[in-house]
């Protein structure tokens, strides 16, 4: 209780609340503009967090992410273009609903159920994280090794595209993480005499490169950089929302739970949460045929789930130091930069910090209602900002922001290098999330692997001796085996099918 009161005192200060409000407005702006993602919004905020205290930095990340994920719904309903990938699952329904004359209901529901979903995820996070932290206290290097590997493996398996591409992306990230002085002997690896590389690849320029520069490169070349014109008049946004809320109250609960759990799965995120919630909603609905024609039910489910996943992703991040999605990967990067190592001890040593994050989530999701309604009202103006002006300004902000973290021009070269690598990977269907998680967690994985293998004196069976370690190890191996078995079964089926046709 003392920790909670201290957290309240820490959060309810003018500068923290001002950071939360400003980052929320920034998140709304970025999320509303098609092509600018929530990840990019957080990546752009990162350099500024360097100059903030840890709680303000977390406030900036929480505010921007929560709002940007919601704001992606706005152009979805107005223009049929999702602002962020997390809104893509239901932008057809939102747009068609608004075409039927229910624009206010579509956007009003989005903001209200995004907020409720976000609050649901936050409450789940508040209760689940401390309980899991108790369990995590029992972990040794063996359990941490398996858990990190399990997180990275699941990031590969659930990533878009073929699994082999996910594995390659993960290995590239892990290899990038080996650059610098090694932990066992302090031996310089892959530094080639460059002193800038001795401390390893700095995560912040890498994140900005991967999520901002690669996206700028893609957008300026592949899109026509024209602003969007919105003609519709926006009336009372809350009209009818209560009625549909009552009708679909169980959908909100179901999608809140689903979104939180999906968010907690490493490598997933809001986009996957909304697609799965939409699919589940359709499969369980009594009005399946209405989906895709402008039906509110799917919008309620998916918009609740994607915002619930934002908080859900923080559960493994804070308890185990394993981020649930790319957004929390950036948040962890910020924490590492501040010298804060997430893990179960953070709940014992600095409970006020953990409570402060809980409170920030609650405030951000409550603020979402007035801010979201306001953003919808001014969306006509936001959407008219031409990307031809926006992208050059974003580019220069990344340059000055990345430089300012360590006053190092080397970081800019690193940012550019990773940005081009991420762009090429994206173009060729290699997912970015496994690479970034590999880069972020590579050191942790190697530390736990080396510690365990030395303790086990090379005997790999020791990795399965402790019950918890054995369970985690078996789950990890099943994750690897499952796609192989699945591939083999489908191969057998297709062979059988072609044989029967002959």
């Amino acid at each position: 209780m003392h920790g909670f009161m201290e957290a309240v005192h820490l959060v309810f200060q003018f500068d923290i609340l001002a950071v939360l409000v400003l980052s929320s407005l920034f998140g709304l702006f970025m999320g509303s503009i098609p092509g600018l993602t929530a990840t990019m919004a957080v990546a752009l905020i990162v350099p500024l967090t360097f100059f903030m205290d840890p709680i303000a930095a977390m406030g900036a990340v929480v505010g921007a992410t929560s709002m940007a994920i919601f704001a992606g719904d706005i152009p979805g309903a107005l223009l049929r273009i999702p602002g962020t990938p997390a809104s893509a699952a239901y932008s057809d329904d939102s747009f068609l609903l608004s075409q039927k004359g229910y624009l206010e209901l579509s956007l009003g529901s989005s903001v209200i159920f995004s907020s409720i979903g976000g609050l649901f995820g936050s409450v789940f996070f508040i209760f689940a994280a401390p309980a899991l932290a108790e369990l995590a206290l029992l972990f040794t290097s063996f359990e941490y090794f398996w858990l990190t590997l399990m997180g990275l493996s699941s990031a590969v398996i659930i990533s878009k595209g073929s699994n082999i591409r996910g594995w390659v992306a993960l290995i590239i990230g892990l290899l990038l993480a080996t650059i610098g002085l090694d932990i066992s002997m302090g031996f310089p690896r892959f530094t080639f005499g460059n002193s800038n590389l001795a401390a390893g690849i700095d995560i912040l320029p890498a994140l900005i490169g991967a999520f901002a520069i690669s996206e700028i490169l893609r957008s300026v070349s592949a899109t026509d950089l024209k602003g969007q014109k919105v003609q519709q008049h926006i009336g009372n946004l809350l009209k009818g929302v209560g009625k549909v809320g009552m009708k679909y109250k169980f959908n909100v609960i179901r999608s809140g739970i689903l979104g939180t759990l999906i968010g907690a799965l490493p490598g997933s995120g809001a986009t996957m949460a909304s697609y799965l919630a939409y699919a589940l909603s359709k499969s369980m609905s009594k009005e399946k045929e209405k989906y895709g024609t402008g039906h509110i039910e799917g919008i309620i489910d998916a918009s609740s789930a994607n915002n619930a996943s934002v908080a859900g992703a923080w559960i493994p991040a804070l308890v185990f130091g394993i981020p649930g999605d790319t957004l929390t990967a950036i948040a962890l990067g910020v924490l590492f930069m501040k010298g804060i190592n997430p893990g179960p001890t953070i709940f014992m040593n600095t409970p006020e910090f953990v409570y402060a994050i809980f409170i920030l989530f609650i405030i951000a999701n409550v603020l979402m209602i007035p801010f979201g309604l306001g953003a919808i009202k001014v969306s006509k103006h936001i959407l008219s900002v031409p990307p031809s002006i926006l992208y050059p300004l974003i580019l220069m902000t990344t340059v000055v922001g990345t430089f300012s973290v360590q006053n190092a021009t080397f970081d800019l070269i690193l940012m550019l290098g990773i940005g081009i690598l991420a762009y090429v990977m994206n173009e060729n269907g290699f997912p970015l999330a496994p690479m970034i998680l590999g880069l972020l967690l590579g050191e942790m994985l190697e530390n736990n692997f080396m510690g365990s293998i030395v303790k086990a004196q090379g005997n790999l069976l020791v990795f399965f001796e402790r019950p918890l370690s054995a369970v985690l190890g078996i789950i990890t191996i099943l994750l690897w085996v499952f796609p192989i078995v699945k591939g083999f079964v489908s191969f057998l089926r297709s062979a059988k099918h072609s044989k029967s046709q002959v």
Partner: protein, 157 residues
């Protein structure tokens, strides 16, 4: 720019062989077979196996997937220019900004990029670049105490 898997696999194969060769030169811990090479060796082996898989699947699909495939935008010279302006602006900051100083460099670079992106809207480009360069300088240099490059103008002032 899409490449056939066999080409990507070939590049990764060369990379993995180079990594495996290089980590063999790393020392081991005293009285142990493990050391700085252990982890990268495992990763290099994984990369090698993945690259072989990609090469095989690329060769198998070579009739349906071309060796290289360029997106539609690559036919447009203006879009190439836009694409190239991004790395050039970053490298320009590294190489030129220390001499010209932050404000002058950012102003000139932004005007040039904005003129291209907005199809020569001079007024908008100059005003936007001027406001951004001065405001960002004040925020980062005066507000956050970041030692942004002053350039020759800084020494004169």
């Amino acid at each position: 720019m899409k490449f056939n898997d066999a080409l990507i696999g070939g590049v990764l194969l060369i990379l993995s062989v180079a990594i495996l060769g290089y980590v063999n030169t790393f020392p081991a811990m005293p009285l142990s077979t493990y050391g700085p090479a252990t982890f990268p060796k495992l990763l290099g082996t994984g990369l090698l196996a993945s690259s072989v898989y990609l090469i095989i699947s690329g060769i198998r699909n070579r009739k349906t997937v071309p060796w290289t495939q360029f997106a539609a935008w690559t036919q447009d010279r203006r879009r190439w220019l836009r694409f190239m302006e991004i790395p050039l602006a970053i490298l320009g900051y590294v190489i030129i900004a220390p001499f010209f100083g932050y404000i002058l460099y950012v102003f000139v670079a932004l005007v040039l990029i904005l003129l291209d992106f907005t199809e020569m809207r001079w007024k908008v480009s100059i005003i936007t670049a001027a406001v951004f360069s001065v405001v960002s300088f004040l925020i980062f240099s005066n507000g956050l105490m970041v030692p942004l490059p002053q350039g020759f103008l800084g020494s004169i002032i």
